[in-house]
Amino acid sequence: MEKPINNRAWLLVAPVFLIVAFSAILPIMTVVNYSVQDTFGNNQFFWNGLGWFQELLDPSTELGGRFFAALWRNLAFSAIILAIEVPLGILVALSMPREGWKVAATLVVMALPLLIPWNVVGTIWQVFARADIGLLGYGLNWLGIDYNYTGDTLSAWITIVVMDVWHWTSLVALLCYAGLKSIPDAYYQAARIDGASRWAIFTTIQLPKMKRVLLIAVLLRFMDSFMIYTEPFVLTGGGPGNATTFLSIDLVKLALGQFDLGKAAAMSLVYNLIVLAVCWVFYTVMTNTGSERADRGEPA
């Protein structure tokens, strides 16, 4: 499995590196510089050391309080949508047709939400859920259910979660469907001969075979929901109050709304470190589940 590494190939990456230097590395360096200073504009900066970071990590301060609130909110959001989208995606994948013209039709319908730009998704749900003119909002209120996502925290959360489920369950379902399609028919035949129940087939054949794609789905959905910005920004703008202010929305409010560059820089660095750590886990798991298979001599 081990092979020697030829680092000369990295030279071919040099042009990309040059572009990335201007689009990412220099801006990140600037953010690091801002995070240890304070500014009142006019390119004048004052040394603040680790002050912003200290404030950020102390929940009793204003900055720390809003950071941790946004962090927990964001983690709760990720947990909720994962708890809904993963089981729902598996169920959808299990009930999708395996052959015939229906396959193509289902795949197209499933892929549709994934093709819509994120701000359009936000706008669709913004209008759809409005209590005065939206079909969903008006309908719910007509039924006597008090629903108003601009004023009520619970309504806003339900709307955002439902929107995300509508937008992204397809992805989980399509990944699971790909996993299911790769199971050879012989497995099912053997199960039929053994007289296995539907549940036994699911837990002993389908679920283990879907493990890898499910892992990818969970990590992708976690990263995406942890970095979500556009949809809640368009739908609720972080409101009512701060009820749906996730990390990225709070960051933009801090940096571009209040122009607190130092605080925003410190917050974005800590946010970035969390994302980087999760990305690393994601990358490691993705690249290594394949090699484990190869080591055991299983087909990938």
């Binding site: 680092n7 600037t30 510089n33 390119n43 050391g49 680790l50 970071f53 800590v270 750590a277």
Partner: protein
């Protein structure tokens, strides 16, 4: 030449450099350069450590730097702004990563 440096300083003012952050990036950059040179002149094979994943020296450097960032943040949040001991802890962590991961 003076004109050029003055021009450069003016145009880089928005980046708000300080010598502390400059030093920070010089250390990171020199670590990257050293590890690149070592990888070029002393090629190695990835090995599997306690994490159960194959890692090269570069992977271990990344794990060290990322972990050190979290160690420093945790120290800052729990113990206070004096990061001397946190850096010492990072060094121990780095040795452990390079030995066991």
């Amino acid at each position: 030449m003076d004109d050029f440096t003055a021009h450069l300083a003016e145009n880089a003012a928005w980046m708000a450099w300080t010598w502390q952050t400059g030093l920070f990036f010089v250390i990171i950059a020199s670590l990257l350069i050293v590890f690149t040179l070592v990888a070029l002149f002393k090629p190695e094979r990835a090995r599997v450590g306690v994490l159960g994943i194959p890692t090269t020296r570069g992977d271990r450097l990344f794990i060290t730097l990322l972990g050190s960032a979290f160690i420093n943040l945790a120290w800052l949040g729990l113990a206070g702004p004096d990061l001397g001991w946190a850096l010492a802890l990072c060094l121990v962590y780095a040795l452990a990563v390079f030995r066991f991961v």
